[in-house]
């Protein structure tokens, strides 16, 4: 269970972006969070993935309260989340080749031995050919880069996936392919999903349950 309980967060204590938001995702459940631009849904996604410290409220992950955010979060809690962001250009280190980009979380966790096999298996799954793996981010398209970013999010086999407008920059066929990869991973691993976006049709097709921001910010 991923529980966000009365979360208040923002970038200025005096003017929080979101106030008293409560949301929970059951294990294996997929929840789509809909909302207009600038309402704070991305901030909520970052709080859920332990990447932004809220000013109030608490986050409970599988019955365990989040002890800290960013580097202060225990590594096991941080890596329980796979995060995919809206803009692949900004979420890929421009100096890393795609293969290193996908392998980076394994190396950061001292599991360099598994790199070759895991990267091959995962990049095949997201549809990246071996000829792309030696390229740097500026040498591939947005869609190809987002595929690599999704592979990176899955490489540690997280129990929770947070997709923050993952498909906003992509065309319909890439969107369908990436959603299919996420769903296949969830079927075999039982991971829960919090998908944030403003494409109602997509989220309603994709998720077990969709919540509109206005229902949360009561």
């Amino acid at each position: 269970m991923l529980e966000l309980d009365a979360v208040t967060a923002g970038y200025d204590q005096r003017a929080p972006v979101l106030r008293d938001i409560t949301l929970s995702v059951a294990p294996g459940e997929s929840v789509g969070l809909l909302g207009p631009s600038g309402c704070g849904k991305s901030t909520l996604a970052r709080v859920a993935a332990l990447l932004h410290r809220p000013d109030g409220g608490r986050v409970v992950i599988d019955g365990e309260r989040a002890g800290g955010w960013r580097h202060r979060a225990p590594r096991a809690q941080r890596t329980a989340f796979g995060v995919v962001f809206q803009q692949p250009r900004l979420s890929a280190d421009p100096r890393l080749r795609l293969a290193d980009l996908v392998a980076e979380p394994l190396r950061a966790n001292g599991r360099s031995g598994e790199v070759t096999d895991t990267v091959r298996e995962l990049t095949e799954r997201v549809g990246l050919g071996p000829e792309l793996l030696g390229r740097r981010p500026h040498e591939v398209s947005d869609g190809q880069l987002q595929r690599a970013c999704l592979a990176r999010a899955l490489v540690l086999r997280p129990r929770w996936l947070v997709c923050d407008e993952m498909t906003a920059m992509l065309d319909a066929s890439t969107t369908a392919a990436l959603v299919a990869v996420v769903e296949e991973y969830r079927r075999e691993s039982g991971a829960g999903l919090l998908a944030v976006g403003h494409d109602r049709v997509l989220l309603e097709r994709w998720c077990d349950r969709t919540v509109h921001w206005s229902e949360l910010a009561a």
Binding site: A49, V83, F85, L90, D93, R95, P105, A108
Partner: protein
């Protein structure tokens, strides 16, 4: 219909830029080779006094003329460039290392540490750095190392600011978020993602610092605070030529001065090209 030929005015600008880069590169290469190879190869004593040939005008025997005790000025200029470049490069490296460490530490820690460190930087920036440099060299006896220490210790401030702002901007990129979510430690984020991002900027700051440091060495030597007067450096050469200049002998001032200007322009030209590659959209004010 007449054939349309599209010609951009940018072409000519680009080609003059390319020539400027080539010219700078050749000049820097010549200077570096000269200061490295001439002293061991020609085995002439730059200190050799020849009072019978003092203050000779430029000629084939002495292309740059001779000074007031008959020393060959071409040889003195080569030795002077050697000392000035050494001081410039070492001082620039010292300043850049200090600046990068301070700026990166301030940005990475944030909070009160960042604020205190940056106020200290502001405090030092508020004092004219030549004054601060004079204060530091005055504590030692004249020599190369006091000058290096003085220039190095007074020039890390701008690098610290540049590196700090660069790290702050990199730190908020989503790829750092992704690294944290992937379990990367603070050290790993710093070494793998932040440092490689600021190194080009820091390297550029170091190169731009070299001519600046050369001018500072010259200024300190000119004021009589830098190198001892018998040791040739561009600053001491210009300083000791003041007397002859007043008597109408122009060459002991002109040639060391030209060396300084040409070396500065060449290094700055290369640095400008580098900066343009790093950031093509910002036309640099320091292109020179």
């Amino acid at each position: 219909m007449a054939e349309l030929t599209w010609k951009s005015t940018g072409d000519r600008r680009r080609s003059t830029r390319a020539w400027r880069v080539r010219g700078s590169a050749v000049t820097v290469a010549v200077i570096v080779l000269a200061v490295l190879l001439v002293p061991p190869l020609v085995q002439l004593d730059e200190q050799a006094v020849d009072l019978a040939a003092k203050l000779r005008q430029p000629s084939l025997a002495h292309p740059f003329g001779t000074d007031d005790v008959g020393r060959d000025l071409l040889l003195r200029c080569v030795y002077g460039l050697r000392v000035s470049l050494l001081v410039g490069v070492v001082a620039a490296v010292v300043a850049t290392v200090i600046g990068t460490a301070v700026g990166a530490a301030a940005a990475a820690s944030g909070g009160w540490f960042d604020r205190v460190v940056m106020r200290v930087v502001d405090l030092f920036s508020s004092v004219p750095h030549l004054l601060l440099g004079i204060f530091i060299v005055a504590m030692f006896s004249p020599g190369v190392w006091p000058v290096v220490v003085s220039v190095g210790l007074t020039h890390w401030l701008s690098t610290a600011r540049i590196v700090r702002s660069e790290v702050l901007s990199l730190r908020s990129r989503p790829y750092v978020d992704a690294a944290i979510s992937g379990g990367a430690s603070r050290l790993r984020v710093a070494v793998r993602h932040l440092l490689p991002g600021v190194l080009p900027q820091a390297g550029l700051a170091a190169v731009l610092m070299v001519p600046h440091a050369i001018w500072h060495e010259s200024a300190l030597s000119f004021l009589g605070l830098g190198l001892p007067t018998h040791q040739a450096s561009l600053g001491t050469l210009v300083q000791s030529s003041r007397g002859p200049l007043l008597a109408g002998d122009w060459w002991p001032t002109l040639f060391p001065g030209l060396c300084m200007v040409i070396a500065t322009l060449a290094i700055a030209g290369l640095a400008g090209a580098w900066r343009e590659r790093l950031n093509p959209r910002r036309r640099s004010e320091l292109m020179l």
